[in-house]
Amino acid sequence: MSKPTDYQILLGSLDKAEHGPIVEERDWDNKFISQTIRELVRKYDISWNADDPLVPWDNDFADRVFAAGMEMAVKTGVYCLDTKRQMLWSQDELEQILSRTPKQVTVGEGVDAVTVYTRRPDDDKRVAVWGGPWGVPVTEELYTPFIESYAREPVFDLVENATLLSTHGRPIRAGSPWEAVAVWQEAQMALEAIRKAGRSGIALGCVEIATTEIGELAGTTYGAYRLTDIHHAAFISEQKTAYHQLTKAVHFAHTGSFSETYFNPMYGGYAGGGPGVAIAIVSGMLLVKACLGGTFCNTGPTHVHLNCSTHPDLVISTSLAFQGLARNTNLLITPFIRPTTGPGTREIFYESAALTIATVVSGATMIDCVQSATGNHTLYASPLEARFCGEFAHAVEGMTRKDADPIVRKFVEKYKNIQDEHLIGRPFTEVYDLDTLQPTPEWFSMYEAVCDEVEKDYGIVLNN
């Protein structure tokens, strides 16, 4: 039998949403997800203690996490909220989909194009850096300069957009015509921002305001976002999808758009603690690829109370899951750096860099940085913390997991006890000069002080 085409795989995925077993959503959360994860944590002996490495370097451990995640993916599949059906893939089907994953992809265009490579743990291959405010809310008048300030950073290979708070002075309503109006405005302003920064060909992460398929369909069209940009579709926790996400995936296929699909399991939620989240990350990444496609597969597991992806336990979970995926697949995997702290605080550098280092040495292909202050506060993000992540990402290319662990541990020690204080810092308008789009002297000197500290303590010179 001939191998299915990508399009046949997509149609097969849609079929699963229509014909899978019917499941109550409550059972999905409590039995399918929670019980399965608990069983697999025991079966594969996934556990660690507080003084174990934050960046483990035991390949067998990483492979057990991968095996547990694969078993989870096959046993549970995905829940379709619209049809109330379980979408199931066999291990053969998943392996066939994984075998088709390209080992490198080029996004963007012209001199601004960048190639992103599959990486393995301890790999010295270049890691790509995707900088941006990652959906942090922003007013209409500041949208263009805000994005331009990111596009001006040479360390960013791609730029992600912010979330518009209004469109033409009106509220943006999900699923209404205003979503279509807003995405068109978003695209025009984002394209203007990169043009002003002199990087017209850089790939943009989009469509930021596309809550539903309306935004995606309206934003990926002639005159708006381009085929060299990268689009998003996601699972809802845990391992749930819906027609609007599947519609986005169909549109990506029809237009030939790049996409980054993502899944953020909840630490303390139905996935349980760190070991459960590590399994859920692997399972979710395999399934977003199978269900929604995705040039890149991303995760930013979320602490149920802190909303961050940088809690110490999540650093271990993400590192282990990435190692398992990087050792056993060619998936282009990316971590989502989402600290509790915001711009203008010293801690944001430690918090963002800890997860960056832990994932780069574990096989991440690209770093999605930084959704500052967990992304909920209007204009609380700046390019400088993302620059720090990008510089650190390149500095640790080729570093072993074993060598990275003490650095990550030292950084984690500097922020782990203040995460529940939610030090959101100061908004972009107070840490950047709006005329020059450069950091204020005070903010820049804080960054320099941390760079000096890194050089003194670890001999790592960042490109400042």
Partner: protein
């Protein structure tokens, strides 16, 4: 009933394990030994659930354990406590109030809302959960049908915030705004947003949501 402390510790252990049979049996025994249903609720169920809520706040337990405990207590209430209260007709309510919860139109995220719902339940509130993607008119209609004390709404996405304002506008338009305190929560919200949407309060976490609900009903 002299040994409430021991009984409560035992009850906590049982409901965390989800042992419905043992939980029902413990409640029946307590009532057989002379405790009133209200005494059992106040000395056993309520402190056990509050203890579990606190353990979840510090993540000594995770969401599934809290779901199991809340489900087990519902079984005890339906099989033992509620029938005994009806029989006793002492008129004393064990509920702090009835809260309607919904994730607003356009948003399918429900874990945050579910956490708030569980925390409300374990703190003694009755819960009407309308699920996700609920249109404003449906929220108002169900609030009236169920005669709730508070309307609670959740949104993860900023583009769903206008639907929260719609609910407040609908209440205003129907002359019901004073009848229902409105609380909002979810990643897209903060206190200033609550003011913009016309809500009475905002909860920054599940625990804070419970405290604000108590405050809105003058139970703090």
């Amino acid at each position: 009933m002299a040994d409430w402390e021991t009984k409560q510790a035992e009850f906590t252990k049982i409901i965390l394990a989800g042992d419905e049979e043992a939980a029902v049996s413990l409640a029946r025994t307590a009532l057989d030994e002379g405790a009133t249903p209200v005494e059992f609720f106040e000395n056993c169920i309520s402190p056990s659930l509050q203890d579990i809520g606190k353990r979840f706040e510090t993540l000594d337990i995770f969401l599934p354990e809290m779901v199991t405990a809340a489900d087990t207590v519902e079984k005890v209430n339906s099989e033992v406590i509620n029938p005994a209260v009806a029989e006793a007709k002492d008129g004393k309510s064990m509920s702090l109030g009835k809260v309607l919860l919904a994730t607003v139109q356009g948003d399918l995220h429900d874990i945050g809302k579910n956490m708030v719902g569980l925390m409300l339940k374990v703190n003694g509130f009755e819960l009407i959960d309308l699920g996700t993607n609920v249109p404003p008119a449906d929220i108002v209609a169900r609030a009236e049908q169920e005669n709730v004390d508070i309307i609670g709404m959740s949104a993860l996405l900023t583009t769903c915030l206008p639907y929260m304002k719609d609910v407040c506008d609908f209440l205003e338009g129907k002359g019901l705004r004073e009848k229902y305190p409105v609380i909002i929560g979810g990643a897209a919200t903060h206190p200033e947003i609550a003011e913009e949407m016309g809500a009475n309060a905002q909860g920054g976490s599940a625990a804070e949501g419970v405290e604000k609900c108590k405050m809105l009903l003058g139970k703090l």
